[in-house]
């Protein structure tokens, strides 16, 4: 009596498990895409319903900037997470996460150029030259722009994996730039930027730890490789 039931159960489990994998595989990117749009949708909703307080432009400027930084850090977390969990499928989401960080950075810069400065280029250039947090923010945006335009597969192929990877290490500079940009903006209370600085520090430390370990392993097996 017991055997067929167990047999049936395991078949069901197998089908169930595989259909989950299939759904995850087929729809997870779409789902992630929609999830990444939620902050923008939330801001749009609040704007529409006048829920952004007395200074809505400041509110959307700050929120889009913070989401750019958050998604940049999430992008940087993919590799360490993959190593910790062993779930290599995570890599499939990295490009989209990075591009969404860029998307929020574009919104953030766009709000500054348009709703904050109304394209007064004279003022904007003075800001970039005179205000350190804007200088850093602008430089960070240029890096993200470079990373975004070199993200399509065709360009990765044309650049060659190694050169592409070297160039994309600039993402660390961009993340540090984002944190500094935030840090220099606040007047006295550095709690929030400090939080993101610690997160970034943790992610960098995790990378360093793993790259050292990989180097050591390779070294022990008699090969050397630069990482």
């Amino acid at each position: 009596m017991a055997m067929p039931i167990r047999w049936r159960t395991s078949i069901e489990e197998w089908i169930w498990q595989n259909s989950i994998d299939l759904v995850v595989y087929r729809f997870s990117k779409t789902l992630l895409f929609l999830v990444c749009l939620l902050p923008a949708a939330g801001l749009g909703w609040q704007w529409w319903h006048d829920r952004l307080g007395a200074n809505p432009i400041e509110a959307i400027s700050k929120d889009t900037g913070i989401w750019a930084l958050r998604l940049l850090l999430v992008t940087l977390a993919v590799t360490p997470l993959r190593r910790v969990t062993g779930w290599h499928g995570l890599m499939r989401y990295r490009r989209m996460l990075g591009l969404f960080a860029f998307f929020y950075a574009v919104l953030h810069l766009g709000i500054y150029l348009w709703l904050d400065q109304f394209f007064l280029w004279e003022e904007i250039l003075l800001d970039i030259r005179e205000r350190p947090f804007i200088t850093v923010g602008f430089a960070t945006f240029l890096i993200l722009l470079g990373l975004a335009v070199t993200s399509p597969r065709a360009i990765v192929r044309r650049m060659g994996g190694r050169r592409w990877q070297g160039f994309h290490r600039l993402v660390y500079v961009a993340a540090a730039g984002g944190v500094i940009h935030y840090w220099w903006l606040v007047k006295a209370d550095v709690r929030d930027p400090l939080f993101y600085a610690l997160l970034l520090g943790g992610l960098l430390a995790a990378r360093l730890f793993y790259s050292r370990r990989v180097t050591a392993l390779l070294h022990r097996s008699g090969r050397t490789i630069s990482i």
Partner: protein, 318 residues
């Protein structure tokens, strides 16, 4: 000053509906900009959140110093402001200032005066003519408002204390009580908050001590029960919840200039020519308006106050 219970007057009735609607216009205009081509009605706005003040002040006179510009809605004035004693963002003061106890309130007067002492606030306010002053308020962060304060000239009070010839400056201190002011549990600034004015600035007829806004007692988050308003200076000079006035010979060190001397000076006069490391001061966003407007020298009060600074290098004494 006679303070009565509110006669069923709500902030929304005091702010003219035309002014209230301005924000809806603003949202509508910008939404039009953002979503060009989209049509359809807009849902109604939410009700104004109540402040902590609200008692109506009786017998307010209209002074000659008010601007005719439309005042910023009560809701914005009372929910968007800096008051680090209640947190470093602009929403915390309105949320947390309920814990501030403003009665009884005493102000200690000390230093170079003939009549020092610890005064009850009621006694200080006795006989003061309450006046409405609609002033521009320019924050160092690049935004501005128009606020109908209720108060009286600081000079009236100072004369009563009879400062001596050695009194060159007056230093103000805010309440320091972390139990009532949760923001003081962290050292984002050195507590208590300190501000100061040169004696001629303090005696200037534009300088007032405010006890109300929009015809009602000051909500806690706006600096109840007694705050300074110096309309030609950046907002942070307007020290709130004052408990001490000290008359001194040497220039006081104000809280922000102690925290960041290269960013904030003692004078802090509104000056579009002298930029802050973080904010160009050439333009400002008036709360409720979309486009920025040009910032005026001394916040538009140059005719009345420029003579106070004749011969001074304002880039040096910022």
């Amino acid at each position: 000053m006679i303070i009565k219970k509110p006669a069923d007057i709500r902030p929304s009735e005091i702010t003219e509906p035309a002014i209230y609607r301005r924000r809806r216009d603003f949202i509508r205009n910008t939404t039009g900009l953002l979503l060009a081509g989209m049509t359809g009605g807009l849902p109604g706005t939410g009700a104004a959140r109540p402040g902590h003040g609200g008692k109506v002040i009786q017998g307010i006179e209209r002074g000659p110093f008010s601007t005719a510009e439309p005042p910023t809605p009560y809701e914005d004035v009372t929910t968007y402001n800096n008051f680090y004693e209640f947190g470093t963002d602009k929403e915390s003061p309105a949320r947390l200032a309920g814990s501030l106890k403003t009665e009884p309130w005493t102000v200690t007067v000390e230093g170079e005066v003939a009549r020092p002492g610890r005064y009850l606030l009621e006694d200080l306010l006795k006989g003061q003519p309450m006046e409405e002053r609609i002033y521009r308020m320019r924050c160092v962060e690049g935004w501005s408002m128009v606020i109908p304060w209720v108060g009286f000239p600081l000079a009236n009070l100072i004369e009563r204390f009879q400062p001596t010839a050695n009194a060159k400056y007056v230093e103000f201190q805010s309440l320091h009580d972390p139990a009532q002011m949760p923001g003081q549990r962290r050292d984002v600034l050195e507590w208590p908050y300190v501000e100061g004015l040169r004696m001629d600035e303090a005696m200037h007829p534009l300088t007032i001590l405010a006890v109300g806004l929009y015809g009602q007692v000051l909500p806690n988050q706006n600096g109840a029960p007694l705050r300074l308003v110096v309309p030609w200076k950046y907002g942070f000079k307007g020290i709130k919840s004052i408990v001490r006035m000290r008359f001194v010979e040497r220039q006081p060190v104000s809280s922000w200039s102690r925290a960041a001397p290269h960013e904030y000076g003692f004078y802090a006069n509104v000056n579009p020519e002298v930029s802050h490391p973080r904010w160009s001061q050439r333009r400002e966003r008036r709360i409720g308006e979309l486009r920025k407007r040009r910032t005026l020298m001394f916040n538009g009060y140059a005719d009345q106050v420029a003579h106070l600074y004749r011969g001074m290098d304002l880039a040096k004494f910022y």
